[in-house]
Amino acid sequence: MNPKVKIDKLNVHFGQTHAVKDVSIDVPENTVTAIIGPSGCGKSTMLRSLNRMHDLFPSARVTGKVLLDGGDIYDRKVDPVSIRRRVGMVFQKPNPFPAMSIYDNVVAGYKLNGRVKKSDADEIVETSLRRVALWDEVKDRLKNNSMELSGGQQQRLCIARTIAVQPEVILMDEPASALDPISTLKIEELIEELAEKYTIIIVTHNMQQAARVSDYTAFFYMGDLIEWGETKKLFTTPEKKQTEDYITGRFG
């Protein structure tokens, strides 16, 4: 089967910094791929190059290919906006739109892009919030401000907002690192569920989390992809010494 996302000799530079070096990974459809590695090794940079978020920083230079269903998202003719509709993103810190209600946050992707029919919106809000298991907690206060939710609820709201626009791939950059263990567990369960419908790539610092939620794992070190493969294999019989040192915690 062809990979959903094929990262092919991807390089990212910030001025003199070579943040991602010649990385190639295949991400199969409807799987969870975890990206692990020490701080500053280029995980976020790699992730953000998969939905062309670097276009916003004039200092960033991306070379190489990222194929989404076989089409290069960095092709000159491709509109980054159309890519971001297909590849959604959840950020490390929950970032609901503070001026919007819970309801409006879920349909923000539609509202910011124009109008949406009330009946459609109602349905989108309910299905999306149910998906992230937030519906029962907020169904009586959908019109309230989103900032009154707890951090974990806010993050699930952000995930709801992301899946509301029906992307094909969801990128998550340490989505649970700002949350307590219970909220983290909820997010992890959610990721497993979402993987039935979406292709998920998740950056995490938490080795157990990577082992729990992912099918594939990629280990980065100083911008290099050291090794990637099935999570079980990578965590039990890593090929490289560096990987082993890192996952066993014998690493700076």
């Binding site: 939905n51 916003l56 906006v81 959604g88 993103m89 950020f91 970032n95 739109f97 923000a108 626009v165």
Partner: protein, 280 residues
């Protein structure tokens, strides 16, 4: 041990006292101006003042109705030109912050803000009055707009910069184009601060006299045409104040009182907006 504490207390009260002095030094002139204008102007404020135009020389009575409407028109027109230029300029600066063009814009705005307003009037005179062969409301409005642009631009820029980047990214990641994100997320989140800047810029130009002297010129009568000279409150106050008639002096004071009150109200609203933003 005791010593350091007393020393610290001493320093504390010293600084408190000097801060109180500074506050008084700021407030006293403001109070003096306001009360003096009240004293001189309040007695001349009546219904006539608001609904009549000035009487011909020698006759008593009359008001500044045309000046107030003229000022309102000039400010409205200046705002229609100045606010979009300032706000969109600021959006450009924030979105393309590092580029050479944006540095040029920022520099130009700073220089423009420092240009004496009489020079701004001369620019409008050369650009509009001379080619159009006559003084006009339009020229006056352009002169005022030139003063508004840098104020709106820089305050808006400051406000936009305070919008967290994470919100922009959230919007972009949802597949919202950059321009929509600018308008609906970045600008939207900064609305209150931007409004504050706009109100302050209006308060600033409401009282400008110099740039109107040889652009809008002033008018003893009603005028609605943008291509003709138009009355404006500051100009009327100026003309009446230097005229040798007691009755006109009274009108000038009344006009000053109205103008100061309007500016006061604008500043208060701006402050209120600025404050409620911090709370939310």
């Amino acid at each position: 041990m005791m010593n350091t504490v007393t020393l610290r207390n001493l320093k504390n009260s010293l600084i408190t006292v000097s801060m109180v002095c500074a506050t008084v030094a700021v407030l006293v002139p403001l109070g003096l101006i306001f009360f003096h204008i009240m004293k001189m102007g309040a007695s001349s404020i009546n219904l006539d003042f608001f609904i009549h135009i000035p009487k011909p020389t020698g006759e008593t009575g009359g008001g500044m109705a045309n000046g107030m409407v003229g000022s309102a028109l000039l400010i409205a027109l200046a705002s229609t030109i100045g606010i979009p230029v300032g706000v969109f300029g600021a959006l450009y600066l924030v979105e393309f912050g590092g580029s050479r063009a944006s540095n040029a814009i920022r520099f130009a705005a700073d220089v423009l803000a420092g240009v004496p307003s009489i020079i701004t009037g001369m620019v409008a005179y050369t650009l509009l009055v001379v080619p159009m062969k006559g003084f006009s409301a339009l020229a006056g409005a352009v002169a005022l707009a030139l003063i508004m642009v840098p104020i709106v631009l820089r305050t808006t820029e400051e406000q936009l910069k305070m919008v967290p980047g994470s919100l922009r990214e959230a919007s972009l990641a949802l597949g919202v184009p950059l321009w929509r994100t600018c308008l609906k997320v970045t600008l939207r989140s900064a609305t209150k601060g931007v409004m504050t800047g706009i109100l302050l810029s209006i308060a600033r130009v409401a009282g400008e006299t110099a740039p109107l002297l040889f652009t809008a010129l002033g008018n003893q009568f009603w005028s609605h045409k943008l291509t003709e000279p138009i009355a404006a409150m500051p100009l009327q106050i100026f003309n009446f104040a230097i005229a040798p008639y007691e009755d006109w002096h009274r009108l000038a004071w009344a006009g000053a009182l109205v103008l100061v009150t309007v500016m006061f109200a604008l500043s208060l609203t701006a402050r209120y907006l600025g404050r409620s933003k911090q709370q939310s």
